[in-house]
Amino acid sequence: MAGMLRLVLFQARQDRVTLPVWILGITLLSFATSTAVATQFGDEESQAAILTLAASNPAFLFLRGLPDGTGVGAVVFFQGYAFTAVLAGLMSTFLVVRHTRSDEELGRDELLGAVPLPRAASLAATLVLGTAANLLLAVFVAAGFVAAGLPAGGAFAAGSAVGTVGVFFTGVAALAAQVLPTGRGANGAAAGLVGAAYLVRGVGDALGTPSADLLHVASAWPSLLSPIGWGQRARPFTSPDLAVLLVLLAAAAALGTLALLVRRRRDVGASLLRQRNGREHAGVGGRSFVGLAWRLQRSAVVGWCVGAAAIGAVAGALGPLVSETVSSVAPIRDLIARLVPGGQAGLVDVFVTALLGIAGVFAATAGIQAVLRMRAEETEGRAELLLAAPASRARWLGANLLTAAVSAALVAATTGAAAAVGLGLSGIADGQAWSLVPAALAHVPAALVFMAAAAVAFALVPRLSIVLGWGMFAAGLVLGEFGELFGLPVWLQDASPFRHSSAMPVEPFNQGGALGLLAIAAAGAALAAYCLRRRDLTS
């Protein structure tokens, strides 16, 4: 027992920065949502307005969750719970895989395997740590709600709902780590299940039945397949029912036990799904910079495309529903008319435009990821191997930038195509649907600017390139998407490339903006190539 405790503390010590960042970040998000709702929807009338709007809008239900009566707490839970639960799930997933499969893959587990402790002790310690972290998360989230002025009872129940989802995914990740041979694979599978839980809940909620006053919605059966859906049933601020959380805890215990049983029976390094052998020869294109860059980026692009397709499909399939529902409710129609720029634009278009904007963000993320991979290649010593070949650094950079740009375009195009298909299936395709593909691609130039910026950072200040690459992206996102909300000066908002993308189909295509962004991206790429040639390879 003392040995187990040491293991738990040892793992906790390794996480002494990561875990507090996750827990405090999620807490801060909960607190911020609460204060925002309290200021924006302080009185019951506006709360009822937002709830009716949501109840009659499947897209809203899909993205956010179920409206469950008025009151700041209820609105906060409706607005923020699903996202918070996803974050708790991801926190738990990464925590578990980090200490189990990744450690095993890197051979660290072998060191611990020689100490006089049971074979599954390390996994058990991770499960304890994961549970403790989620307990802490529940307490902190509850405290955040209380600090924002919500009733303590509801706050505690809401925190418990979030923490319980985290515990559930601790069990899921523990099992994934037994099944898959690599840390990357286990992380991908478990994180994918977190995403699936969110989407399945979304489908169930979107198909839910609204009450007569449109202030509540009861979910359809698919939500019961999702742990996030189960957590939502705790209804913390309306009629708290913590018993449903026991279902999740029982499931988590079952998953954890199963993982422990597997671990006790298997060899170190073995997995239920075996590591497949690779090919003896490189395929066509496997002998060039571009081929390598694509090979390394491929699985990431597939992941982003799946996410983008989901968003696109939601946009296309649910868009028409939105417009139907909304046009039948006069007060909502007025509300939308006030919110929508221009006012007269079709509601479907507004909805689709908003979701295509998210796809633009996905595209930029996929691209930046590809660019910053060069830094990983450099620090891990592989760039040295590549650049000893008779090919210039500019070509290496070019191959990676090309791969990044293609990734971004693929992600954007996938969104547009999925939206078009969704729109087609919902019956109002009038030949215009396919114009959503170029509409989605209109976000690529802005994404290219971020990739070029990351490339310049990599060439000029390699040690800071990861921080700068993502930092500039985050700054652009905040300035572009939330600048107006925060009331920042216009020139500052305009510094974000996102502000110069055309929000199609609501806005017409802004040729000048797109060309300007392309020119900036090209200049950035050239500057990066020039600077990369003039610096030492570092590590």
């Binding site: 893959e105 690599t182 990357r184 590591q275 497949r276 052998n277 690779g278 090919r279 003896e280 020869h281 490189a282 395929g283 496997g286 002998r287 060039s288 910079f289 081929g291 390598l292 090979r295 390394l296 891990e380 010593g381 592989r382 040295e384 191997l385 590549l386 650049l387 000893a388 070949a389 008779p390 090919a391 210039s392 650094r393 030492d536 390879l537």
Partner: protein, 328 residues
């Protein structure tokens, strides 16, 4: 042989600073065509830094460097066309198979020789289908070695290439060096393994703290070192302690061991000659002692040093990093 115009590698006064650390401090290095040149030094002496400069991966702070007469920093691509490189610490793409990495690296150099590739994989007993994340250090090393040898090059830059190989694979590696050397290629082999350099190299440069302290053929460097004597059967062994020219004298039960400078050999031989001698062994200076002289602790004035290198003091000396085959 040393004519500047003909050298494959010519470095003069190389200095490289990383922040406040000076990795190279005026290094000179000259490698002639067709020669297997040992680049000998302990870890951290600046061997890898030098190889990276030769490849144009990093730029020297000062000094000039030419490979095939070309400045590698200004035109790395031209230099790389004829170079095969094996880094000291081989890191691979975890999700690519070994075979894919070999094809990638040879492909980037213009394509490998398929027959050569197959025979190398066979000789190194390498499984090219496993994913790189499953390879041990030795196997990662093999990937880089096979990729380097699978396409002919004029210059092979090898950074401690056999560090992860077992003795059998090490023999395979040596055969490859001999093969490319027979074909007229030039090899620069960095190492801290003495026996490796001794067996493979025609000439060598010894580097310490970023400076070349010695360069020449093994024969040329040998004369710098004292000859080791071991004598048994002397009536009064302790008298040798007073013999002029005998250094580091140790007396065990029956045997006396000592070192002598080449110029004192005549006097020493005369000094030990007496009827009772039962055995006499004289060993030429080994590369290992050569190495120790340069890298053992503060050793500025080796001629006046009375260090004891005999059996009795071996334990004391081991703290300066001496093992059977290598010095760290």
């Amino acid at each position: 042989m040393n004519a500047t115009a003909e050298t494959v590698i010519e470095a003069r006064g190389l200095v490289k600073d990383f922040g406040r650390t000076r990795a190279l401090d005026g290094l000179d290095l000259s490698v002639a065509p067709g020669e297997v040149h040992g680049f000998l030094g302990p870890n951290g002496a600046g061997k890898s830094t030098t190889l990276r400069i030769l490849l144009g991966l990093i730029r020297p702070t000062a000094g000039t460097v030419r490979v095939f007469g070309i400045d590698p920093w200004t035109d790395p691509v031209a230099v790389h066309r004829d170079v095969a490189y094996v880094p000291g610490d081989v890191s691979l793409w975890p999700n690519l198979s070994g075979g894919e990495v070999i094809d990638l690296l040879t492909g980037l150099r213009g394509g490998g020789d398929e027959k050569l590739r197959r025979s190398l994989i066979e000789e190194f007993e390498f499984d090219p289908r496993k994913k790189a994340r499953n390879y041990s250090k030795g196997n990662r090393q093999k990937v880089a070695l096979i990729a380097a040898f699978a396409r002919p090059a004029r210059l092979y830059l090898l950074d401690e290439p056999s560090a992860g190989l077992d003795p059998v694979m090490d023999a395979v590696f040596r055969r490859q060096i001999e093969r490319v050397s027979r074909d007229g290629a030039t090899v620069l082999l960095s190492s801290h393994i003495l026996s490796e350099v001794e067996q493979l190299c025609d000439r060598m440069t010894i580097i310490r703290s970023g400076t070349a302290v010695e360069t020449g053929t093994l024969g040329e460097l040998r004369h710098l070192r004292r000859t080791h004597f071991r004598v048994t059967g002397l009536a009064d062994p302790s008298r040798l302690a007073a013999l002029p020219g005998a250094h580091a004298v140790t007396v065990s039960d029956a045997a006396v061991e000592f070192d002598a400078d080449p110029r004192d050999l005549g006097a020493v031989l005369a000094g030990i000659a007496e009827p009772g001698i039962s055995s006499l062994s004289v060993a030429p200076p080994s590369l290992e002692s050569l190495f120790l002289r340069h890298y053992s602790s503060s050793d500025g004035n080796s001629n006046d040093r009375k260090s004891r290198v005999g059996k009795n003091s071996a334990a004391a000396n081991s703290s300066s990093g001496r093992t059977d085959s290598e010095v760290n």
